[in-house]
Symmetry: C2
Subunit: 449 residues, 2 copies
Amino acid sequence: MDEALSLSGCRALDAADRLKPLRAQFELPPGLIYLDGNSLGALPHSAADAVQHALQQEWGHGLIRSWNDAGWIHRAQAVGDAIAPLVGAGAGELVVADSTSVNLHKVLWAAIGLVQQRGLQRHVLVTDRDNFPTDRYIAQGVCDAWKWTVREAGLAPDTPVQAAPGGNPRSAAILAALSDPQVGVVMLTHVDYRSGALHDLAAINRAARAAGVLTVWDLAHSAGAVPVDLKATAAQADFAVGCGYKYLNGGPGAPAFVWVHPSHVNAVEQPLRGWLGHAAPFDFEAGYRPAQGIARYVCGTPPILSLTALQAGVSTLRAADPLGGMAALRAKSLSLTRTFMRASRAAAQAHGLELATPTRDEHRGSQVSWACGPRAPDGYAVMRALIARGVIGDFRASPRPGLPDILRFGFAPAYNTHEEAWLAAQALGGALGQVAQQGPGTSARPRVT
Amino acid sequence: MDEALSLSGCRALDAADRLKPLRAQFELPPGLIYLDGNSLGALPHSAADAVQHALQQEWGHGLIRSWNDAGWIHRAQAVGDAIAPLVGAGAGELVVADSTSVNLHKVLWAAIGLVQQRGLQRHVLVTDRDNFPTDRYIAQGVCDAWKWTVREAGLAPDTPVQAAPGGNPRSAAILAALSDPQVGVVMLTHVDYRSGALHDLAAINRAARAAGVLTVWDLAHSAGAVPVDLKATAAQADFAVGCGYKYLNGGPGAPAFVWVHPSHVNAVEQPLRGWLGHAAPFDFEAGYRPAQGIARYVCGTPPILSLTALQAGVSTLRAADPLGGMAALRAKSLSLTRTFMRASRAAAQAHGLELATPTRDEHRGSQVSWACGPRAPDGYAVMRALIARGVIGDFRASPRPGLPDILRFGFAPAYNTHEEAWLAAQALGGALGQVAQQGPGTSARPRVT
């Protein structure tokens, strides 16, 4: 029986979904199938209420008093503590601050600082060749400052897609690079932003620990959709950052998070010495004395309105705790992406699309990406036609020769359904047929994050 | 005639105030006199509306499409362009990004980079001994990385308060430090956060230019209250940052702004290479290529909800444009602080308070600070008693031996009135008498920004 390949089968899966109650937490425009929660998560009703309260009551009425009376001063840590269990971190180990980019700068600087402090003659940082641009740019900047070298390893994320039995090819290429004794730090994004391929976080952490290499993970496309165990036995990570506005549903440009393994956090400083990272910020001491623990990764005053929306967003995922938590979210996510891959495959392949996302569950994040092969119609035009049919995914142009354009479909297990996956697959088939027949048209390409 | 020293005189000044219509833009809790707009500006009605729109319509309904359709992608630059004329910057020269602390890190790094690039044998950064902690911490961090030295100059901000005829003593102490040929950069806060003393920005810029020293200004307590002319003829500044949540009324933790003189902006990079500072962020190029102009000072994705509130906050000041603009705001600010100083002086001095703020207009920002002399009652208890009487100022404990505790009263010319200044002075007298009689009590000291 192949329930997922019929609308009624998908509806049956949704009817049996334990996480079904979570969807009612969100504002979802009627008539729209939203498959871009990996770019910007949907609005939780509670975010609108919480931000309105922060505006009118806390700011408008409480004014400066709300730093104490409304707990603004503790909010970044409170939201960090709410995120922590989603990624396997302990309470007090993870804090919300700044953007993913700025946090990555902090942890890379600290990681290299730690290698130097240990007196190791290592000066190479390894990363994926096709890691997200900000990660590569930030890494290059930090390495320039420390006179380290960035070594790009890994496969191009789009080829080969499907693993040989037993192996994660993307991770294997990284593992091979860790044995060079010059390597001091490896920085990776857990889920590839283009293909949705998932690194084997535990295997890389184990190998890195064995090789004396520090690990820095970007969890932008994992947190809230893919379980992460930063402190897994014998496979502990060293540093991690992540994004608030994707699967954590924190709103546009929500502040990001940062985690440092407790065994390192007090051993090294991060480079952005803002007053709120000071051990005693309100004593206004002459010299900088970093706070103990993850609080030292805070820099300036956090954007309270955006932070409040993030708090509401995180609570939509923590609502899954009594329903199976991240394990249940992961199971549903895999079921959704599996459904969409199978339901869209025939039409996609007939129009020259190639699956960029691994079909094996353990190699896949929470998105499905179809690559535009040489026979495929213009991918941008296909996505425009699909949006006109009420299905929002996104289009990622090729960043360099040899890589294809990509059609991305993110599945947020907190609100997407199997019925949506099935209907979106039908709409994709229709959009492909339309563009193949009419040509791409001339609309300008949009700029989206 | 001394109108300011009576309630009716103050009411007459308010009745004649051309800027009177601006106050109606704000939510101001009834029965409260709010004199802490230098810590957190009041809520504009339009901010509540704009953020609600950004939440419900832009995020909730528009979802990812709002990066284009609602102009999120241009908002940081749009708000920067709205702030620019308030500080004498040109359109396209100033952008909103990150926090003041993070922006200070960027500009200090760039300023030192520029000195190095020019091949100058300078490696000293001069700053005020009692500059705001974040500024000193950040400067020390950047100087450590570049192997530069931070040299603290200036007077302690609280002594001597009143200038000899003709001179600004705080600025004179800095000017004296600029002649050392080892000095490459001078970093100053325009308005001192404790005393409210104002630096002579033009004189320091002129002297710095003559000495080949680059200037970095923190405009946290100036923007929106004190006119700044970053590009004054023959007295141009080099770099500036400022705060969104004080007189710009941007809300708690609002993002900050950064300006770089157009002659430098493309000559040097800032160190936080986030993707949104890239020349072509949506091309996802392999290497970092900084944007032309101030856009290179953007790093990660901006917090749109907080940015939207800042946009509304800035518009409350731009509403002064047809009413005389920053010059009118400055005139009113000086009148308010003058009124408060005069109305509070007798009671304050009778209880051992000493005026920490310069009485000369050209040496004063937009706040009045009373220092707790040796005979004064406990300042924290006085501020608590004052708040209980419906007047919110703030208390700043001594940061080091030799400096007094401070009672601060910020005057926001966009919404504060002479009547409030007069009533607050009466309440201060009452609070002083109460604490002198009853003793300080035992309440814990709060933590506020």
